[in-house]
């Protein structure tokens, strides 16, 4: 049978369909409708629990489930073998995955295994009326350019950036069909093995998950001013980061780095202090809803990205800003 339908590789977090999966279902639904074909979800785990019903509520028509005790913890080789088996069973026309930690690792390997092209990190995926061709828009060169790409192999495969779509609205009355897929896994398929996990004491809030992030750059001039930033972060319950320049200068740890060669953040509010906004930094924070910039140079690139800005000496601005924020947050 010809390849048909849209298959979303879902992720299950704490027994529930992940938020990103609901976003990808929202991205896939109009494509399935345009193609006049079903929207399916792949669910893998030791137990997929109520995730299939959640996916139906979010617009899926079919849930392909693969359950195996070996899938209890994510292990790339096993997960890949199972995903590969589900894809071959579902045989979709369009394959979508979130560009999550798992997606970043699994999608490229799955594409190689299926022998197909892969459109990565897409902000928009669509099929034009009357066409079956998937078009995907994705930022390149640190967001300085946008590329539209299409696949000349099948299934047409894309990874979608988390938060690019709003999660699908849930309609608990929707139902769908569950199809179990047998995956022949055995423990020897896992080639890499986690020997130990080291939890690092992180004082602050995880940058990737933070609703508010504050960060400092080269203009701070040294490591000490980051204490002022930490003060602000504490008041706001924010994560704290830095530009590459500050990391390269050895002022703060590499794990603080935001940008193309560091972490990608998507907070509601991102407050930058003495960061000029080189394109490599913007690439890591362009997903922030609102950017605030404090910088002494009115011509700094960061003001082109910022919604609110103050031009001035960071020390004077920040001290007064933090004090006022403290009062406001208390009230």
């Amino acid at each position: 049978m010809a390849q048909t339908g849209v298959l979303v590789i879902g992720e299950i977090v704490d027994g529930q369909l992940s938020l990103t999966s609901k976003e990808i279902l929202a991205a896939g639904k109009p494509i399935a409708e345009q193609l006049g074909q079903p929207l399916a979800v792949a669910l893998l785990g030791a137990d997929v629990g109520g995730a299939a019903q959640e996916a139906f509520a979010c617009g899926a028509d079919i849930a392909y489930t693969a359950t195996d005790p070996l899938l209890a913890e994510y292990q790339a080789d096993l997960y890949l073998a199972a995903t590969d088996a589900v894809c071959r069973e579902a045989d979709p026309a369009v394959l979508l995955m979130g560009r999550t930690a798992i997606g970043r690792e699994a999608a490229p390997r799955l594409a190689a295994r299926l022998g197909v092209g892969l459109a990565q990190d897409c902000l928009e995926v669509s099929v034009a009326p009357g066409s079956t061709e998937l078009r995907a828009n994705r930022p390149v060169y640190g967001g300085n350019a946008m590329a539209t790409v299409s696949c000349s192999s099948s299934p047409q495969f894309a990874t979608v950036r988390p938060k690019a779509y709003e999660p699908a609205e849930s309609d608990p009355s929707r139902t769908g069909e569950v199809k179990q897929v047998q995956v022949a896994l055995d423990a020897s398929m896992a080639r890499s093995r986690v020997v130990s996990v080291v939890r690092e004491e992180s004082e602050g809030i995880k940058l990737e998950d933070a609703r508010i992030v504050v960060a400092g750059g080269r203009g701070l001039g040294g490591p000490e001013p980051f204490e002022d930033l930490e003060e602000l972060a504490k008041v706001l319950g924010a994560g704290i980061g830095a530009s590459r320049a500050a990391v390269d200068s050895g002022w703060v740890p590499a794990s603080w780095q935001i940008g193309l060669t560091g972490k990608t953040i998507t907070p509601d509010l991102y407050i930058t202090v003495a960061i000029s906004g080189a394109s490599q930094h913007i690439a890591g924070c362009s997903g922030a809803k609102v950017i605030v910039a404090i910088n002494k140079d009115a011509e700094a690139n960061i003001f082109k990205e910022a919604r609110y800005g103050v031009v001035g000496d960071w020390k004077k601005v920040l001290t007064a800003f933090t004090e006022t924020v403290r009062e406001l947050v208390k009230s």
Partner: protein, 266 residues
């Protein structure tokens, strides 16, 4: 036998340049490389070179740097040699001038790796700063049936296996995988070493091995892209910055806080 390490390194437009220096030639669907700004080796790939040299510091190993592209700048591409790598192999073919497909790059690199006699350990940066795909090394691992570990911040080899400290959100995990293995590394690995004067002199004398698609015996069928670039354009950004002012900088700071409160952001 010395450990055979291959590092994948890509030449990219310097990501530190101001955005105004970027120009998109939409008709030809390509980025116009700013003439006065020299290209660089992708940042994470320099971390990969560093990772390979740390292994070479502690045991007998050879480090071969492999790259595919067009219009190579020897100033950029010889930097890994100056840092201490042994060999440089470049796959250069005008057929790939406009290639954006990681699948094609993967196939070409696999052909070159086979011609080189394979590898014990292949190290690459976690992603490239131009297309940010983080795809090629993982594809190579699949096509060459090597084990694969991503996001390393420390890489060691012993007893026929690689031991990687792999970054995870809550810290790191120690992962073991048998050789041959593909490992991608991140900036947490630390600052790459600077080339020494001696290293720079040695690099000047070394000539890269340059192969074309023909040299690798790759047929045109195998280089047909699976991913096509339909359009390339500058995204329209209509962000208006609201400059918050005050009689002095302190007042501007206070007004900013009030503004964010008003906008319900804090």
């Amino acid at each position: 036998m010395p450990l055979n390490i291959v590092v994948l390194a890509k030449q990219v437009i310097d990501p530190e340049i101001p955005m105004s220096a970027f120009q998109v030639d939409r008709d030809n669907r390509r980025i116009v490389t700013p003439a006065n700004i020299p290209p660089v080796v992708n940042g994470f790939d320099e971390n990969a070179v560093e990772a390979s040299l740390q292994i070479k510091d502690s045991q007998e190993a050879t480090v071969t740097v492999l790259s595919m592209g067009t219009g190579f700048s020897m100033d950029a591409m010889k930097k890994p040699l100056a840092m201490g790598a042994d060999e440089l192999v470049l796959i250069q073919d005008d057929a790939f001038v406009n290639s954006i497909d990681s699948a094609v790059t993967t196939r070409m690199l696999v052909a070159a790796l086979n011609k080189l006699g394979g590898f014990d350990l292949l190290i690459a940066g976690r992603q490239a700063s131009d297309w940010d795909n983080a795809q090629v090394p993982l594809g190579v691992a699949e096509l060459m049936s090597a084990s694969c570990v991503t996001l390393g911040k420390k890489v060691e080899v012993g007893d026929g296996k690689v031991v990687v400290e792999r970054i995870v959100p809550e810290g790191y995990e120690v992962v073991e995988a048998p050789l041959p293995a593909v490992v991608t590394v991140s900036n947490e690995l630390g600052q790459p070493r600077y080339p020494t004067l001696r290293g720079i002199m040695a690099a000047t004398r070394k000539q890269p091995t340059v192969w074309s698609a023909d040299d690798l015996g790759v047929s045109p069928d195998e280089t047909a892209p699976l991913l096509n670039l339909v359009d390339l354009f500058v995204p329209s950004t209509v962000k208006e910055c609201d400059f918050i002012e005050g009689d002095n900088e302190e007042e501007a700071g206070r007004n900013l806080a009030l503004k964010l409160r008003e906008a319900k952001l804090i």
